[in-house]
Subunit: 271 residues, 2 copies
């Protein structure tokens, strides 16, 4: 970190929100691997007086399966602490009477079991990965272009993420493709939507200035949190790239090597 003094994040801090992929673990074959020191860092936060929530744009698994995966990696996390886009989307669909055509990963489908999907009047896309075929994208496009007032929901707006030893396009790229083809603006459910961050703050019972977001995605984690009045810290793990530290529009409140370093600094400042 450039400056070891970290304005506004000392004793006034009451809660921490952690991004998951790229902060807690790196995805990859067999569920991925925990990032060094992150399991202990989570335990230290849990043992402190800070509120702790997890906020992910993960949309390849339903929350139960996703939390199970993290438990297998060694993390002490429960479903009720995890906020992800699919449950938020289901609430929006039901509230506004939308019947979705889904272009999501198979593992996420159970989240939408309770939603009427007949005669679709909107499209929902998540990080469908290998299901982002030419055929499936055309199918989603045709549903949208056939609607008098096309509505597209995107589970997150990420550009890319780290997958094994390379980077992979995230749902945001496919969202932009459909936006352009249909001349519309998608509604993003999940990070960096302010509604999404606010729902986490509400659950913690905190004001934005009392909370800190830690993530590897400068725009969606750090910038999204900052837009809500929170502080945002970037870790140099996951999808972090050195060019993030000279980004044209988003400047993190701090940049640290990894979650372990971040947690040590936070807890040190409180004593």
């Amino acid at each position: 970190m450039a400056d070891t003094d970290w304005p506004g994040c000392g004793k006034s801090l009451k809660g921490v929100i952690l991004d998951m992929c790229g902060v807690l673990y790196d995805s990859g074959e067999g569920g991925g691997v925990a990032i060094t020191g992150s399991i202990e860092a989570v335990n230290k936060l849990k043992a402190s007086d800070l509120e702790l929530r997890f906020c992910t744009n993960e949309t390849q698994l339903n929350r139960e399966a996703f939390v199970d995966k993290l438990k297998r990696l060694g993390f002490d996390i429960s479903v009720s602490e995890v906020f992800s886009p699919a449950p938020a989307a289901v609430a929006v669909l039901k509230e506004r009477g939308f019947r979705p055509h889904l272009l999501v990963y198979d593992g996420l489908l159970p989240e939408f079991d309770s939603v009427d999907k007949t005669n679709p009047n909107c499209v929902v896309i998540g990080d469908a990965a290998e299901k982002f075929t030419y055929q499936n994208l055309n199918e989603a496009f045709r549903v949208l272009i056939g609607l008098e007032k096309p509505v597209l929901f995107s589970l997150g707006g990420g550009r890319y993420y780290k997958e094994g030893d390379g980077l992979a396009l995230d749902v945001g790229a496919y969202m932009k493709a459909l936006e352009y083809a249909c001349d519309l603006k998608a509604e993003v459910v999940g990070k960096p939507s302010p509604t999404f961050f606010q729902s986490v703050l509400n659950d913690m019972g905190l004001q934005p200035h009392e909370a800190l977001m830690i993530g590897d995605d400068l725009v969606n984690d750090v910038g999204g949190a900052q837009n809500c009045g929170m502080k945002g810290l970037q870790v140099r793990t996951g999808k972090y790239r050195s060019s993030d530290e000279r980004h044209s529009t988003v400047t993190a409140d701090g940049t640290v090597d990894d979650l372990a370093q971040a947690v040590d600094m936070i807890l040190k400042q409180r004593h």
Copy 2:
């Protein structure tokens, strides 16, 4: 057409540029089918004193194979009359020392035979259709994100086109996906690039106000030609949709049922 008087397109007209797919023929199984009256309309233009060129964003076949396909449908067209993005892109690549990673349809690859493709320092995408797989898009993305100064060339910027009895996403949608993921702006080679339209006008030896573009794509054909100072006419065939006639930013100089009607009106105004 709303108004049968067609301002500026009477005796002063010296040349006509025709879009191909959706104006001359509809694509589909076995090379597609000629649109009723379009073969005769091309013959009438050829028999007139008007200059005639064809301007396509077709990038699934090289020009020779593409012209052969149209000849088989019954059109009297030669390669020298057809302007398409790939030869224009090859000229740009060579001029500026770019070695492309290609994400294009197999049929287009021969156009790039003379280009050095080792150790790529840019990406070129065309309408790759079924080759727009998750894997191939990630590969193009990784080339771009790995470059210090990523450069993306897009062969056209179309949103979608008619394929058989449905609509299919065009290269522009995938261009937007990569633009967003890599935080860059692609260089469009082909319609609606002014450079591309100007190269056709140069070949005809005409000023923009002496030429008329006829196409089914309101934004890329009609709007693109208008941005160059030409008149632009939209046909109600191909990808035409009734909502085009109340588009927020582009208004065609005229809208006609098909090419046959357009040509009859043009030739009638000249006598």
